[in-house]
């Protein structure tokens, strides 16, 4: 089974993007591409072909949930593991988002030191059938 290598980050807050880059690239050792909005991420998807997309829920152009079907419509996005990152609190919204077709929901604030392990775990869990 293929390991998790390429992660596409879609997050509009530049500071959080920096932290995600440090966390995933420096600490986690993944190949990371960073986007500040959903449209530019969608445009880059065919070339980028990420294993996983870490998607902010609230984006300036398209919300994460609105972007999801567009990601799934792209051949390069159809099979990607999508993890939603949200500042909304509480486990009670998790079920709702999972039902919308994302593989996992993570809440802000997150711990950048353990995030690479968490994402690797999610990757493994979603690839059991491969």
């Amino acid at each position: 089974m293929k390991g998790l290598e390429k992660i596409m980050v879609v997050e509009d807050d530049a500071d959080i993007r920096d932290i995600l880059e440090l966390s995933l690239a420096s600490v986690g050792g993944f190949q990371v591409s960073l986007f500040g909005d959903a449209r530019s991420a969608l445009a880059a998807l065919p070339e980028n072909r990420p294993d996983m997309i870490l998607l902010d829920l609230m984006l300036p152009d398209l919300g994460g949930l609105e972007a999801l079907p567009l990601i799934r419509a792209e051949p390069a996005g159809a099979g990607a593991t999508v993890v939603l990152l949200t500042a909304m609190a509480g486990a009670d919204v998790r079920e709702e988002f999972l039902a919308r077709g994302v593989q996992e929901v993570l809440f802000k604030p997150f711990d950048p030191m353990s995030l690479p392990r968490v994402l690797a775990g999610i990757w493994l869990a979603t690839r059991v059938d491969d």
Binding site: D13, D15, I16, I19, L22, S23, S26, V27, M58, A87, M88, A89, G90, A91, D92, E95, K108, P109, F110, D111, P112, M113
Partner: protein, 499 residues
């Protein structure tokens, strides 16, 4: 003897002796008397200050008693005033003529004091009853006109019999345009078409949906716009035909405030959590040496900053939980869960705090035996409750002491206790302990930190899980906070679901 209600009596007679007799008699009965010697003087006195009763002579120079009676009946205040004619004439034609002019009663002279007294007393009762009715009607009218809620009275067919000015202001129809119309014109579809049927069904079966409760409904204004309303309806028990009173309150502003509050809460949530994410992330990376090794003093400060951002994060979560609890939108996902792993995890999560306070935590689950029962709970929410009880217990524990977490079976429930050896809860604080923002000491002098939200949230969560929360405390010996939760029935072990 003073009468129950002293009356003002207008006495009209051109003969001073007659007047003197009447004045003396009436004063003795406790009534006020105004005298007039002829019809013109009497009429102007009547118009100036309408009296309660008029006693009048018929044969007077100038305006006689017949004409005076007719004139009084034409004045605004004189329609219902009792008029008693006192006359020496006793022929049928005169008496009939006086009554046809508007007199209520007729006494022939010479007047016998006893008869006049009896008549005055009888009319005094009528006047008092009429005054009471008028003041009640006036009160009702003033309430109807002043109240800012719309009041509508309908009959059994839904036809508006009466409504107040607020109804007109709320719906944009004139009061006159509403009376006589079916009340359904104030409702949007589909309620408009359903109302007649609903009313008929209620009258036939007594099956009521709105009577006696407050309900959110919608109204339709004259311009077609829809307005959210709160409706209270009552059946009026006066008269033989069924009638109903509806009170309608405009809820647009309240609903707008609720929406504003929701928007504010989401905004605060997002706007606080976003910078917090960067701070927590930076600190975590710093503390882990991702930006190079830290000198010990810097490490200490980073740890301090981390601890306090975690505290800030908990506070944001508590405020959001509180909002969800208040609005009744706290969602739970119930699973059948083994109790022991949840207890162990809660203890593990509190270890950082307990180490910092030099406090031990022990788990006492001996009572559960080899086949530990399962609880029907929301795992994360139970974890949150236990975390809160543990953090309180640790914060109030003396250094070197032990906090005990004990699980016991109680019939078809489990009782989970968190026991400390702290100072106990002062008696005056005990009744308030589950209230929001409850703190025993004022914020300025407080030795321990916390928002005072934790226990109120814990209580709401436990109640929603079908359990109970309580405490036993003794000053200087410690406190036991306990939660009792329903055990999952055997069938629940396989069945998982959300609720």
């Amino acid at each position: 003897m003073a009468p129950a209600t002293p009356l003002s009596v207008l006495v009209v007679d051109d003969e001073p002796t007659n007047r003197l007799f009447l004045v003396t008699l009436l004063n003795r009965l406790g009534h006020q008397v105004i005298e007039a010697a002829d019809g013109i003087a009497a009429l102007s006195a009547f118009i100036a200050v309408p009296p309660d009763i008029v006693l009048l002579d018929l044969m007077m120079p100038g305006m006689d008693g017949f004409e005076l009676t007719r004139e009084i009946r034409l004045t605004e205040g004189g329609v219902n005033t009792p008029l008693i004619v006192l006359s020496a004439l006793d022929d049928v034609d005169t008496i009939v003529r006086a009554i046809e002019c508007g007199a209520d009663d007729y006494l022939t002279k010479p007047i016998r004091a006893q008869i006049l007294t009896a008549k005055i007393n009888r009319f005094a009762d009528l006047v008092a009853a009429r005054k009471a009715r008028r003041s009640e009607a006036e009160r009702t009218r003033a309430i109807g006109e002043t109240i800012t809620d719309a009041l509508v009275v309908i009959d059994g067919n839904g036809i508006i019999e009466w409504c107040n000015p607020a109804t007109s202001r709320l719906f944009g129809h004139a009061v006159d345009a509403l009376v006589g119309r079916n009340v359904s014109i104030l409702m949007p579809e589909p309620f408009r078409s359903q109302h007649d049927g609903y009313l008929a069904r209620y009258l036939a079966t007594g099956e009521a949906h709105v009577l006696g409760v407050r309900r959110r409904v919608f109204g339709e204004r004259r311009d077609g716009s829809i307005v959210p309303l709160e409706l209270s309806a009552a059946r009026l028990e006066s008269g033989d035909a069924p009638r109903f009173l509806g009170m309608l309150r405009d809820m647009s502003e309240t609903e707008q405030l609720e929406r504003l509050k929701q928007d504010f809460i989401s905004m605060v949530n997002h706007e606080l959590r976003t910078p917090l994410t960067s701070i927590v992330g930076s600190l975590s990376l710093l503390a882990s040496g991702a930006a190079g090794p830290l000198p010990p003093a810097a490490q200490k400060m980073v740890t301090l900053a981390e601890r306090n951002t975690a505290r800030l994060g908990r506070l944001i979560n508590d405020i959001l939980d509180l909002d969800k609890i208040e609005s009744g939108s706290l969602k739970m996902s119930f699973d059948s869960a083994e109790a022991l792993p949840i207890l162990r995890e809660a203890i593990a999560l509190s270890e950082g705090l307990s180490r910092g306070h030099g406090v031990n935590i022990e788990l006492d689950s001996a009572d559960l035996g080899d086949d530990p029962p399962c609880l029907r709970v929301d795992r994360d929410r139970l974890q949150q409750v236990l975390g809160n009880l543990l953090s309180n217990a640790i914060k109030f524990s003396p250094e070197g002491s032990t906090v005990t977490v004990r699980a016991r079976r109680q019939g078809n429930q489990m009782r989970i206790s968190v026991i400390d050896r702290g100072p106990g809860i002062p008696a005056d604080f005990q009744p308030r302990i589950f209230q929001r923002f409850a703190q025993h000491e004022p914020a300025i002098s407080r030795k321990t930190q916390g928002s005072g939200l934790g226990l109120s949230i814990a209580r709401a969560i436990v109640l929603q899980m079908g359990g109970e929360i309580g405490f036993i405390s003794a000053v200087d010996r410690g406190s036991e906070f306990f939660v009792t939760l329903p055990l999952a029935s055997t069938g629940d072990k396989e069945m998982e679901g959300t609720q």
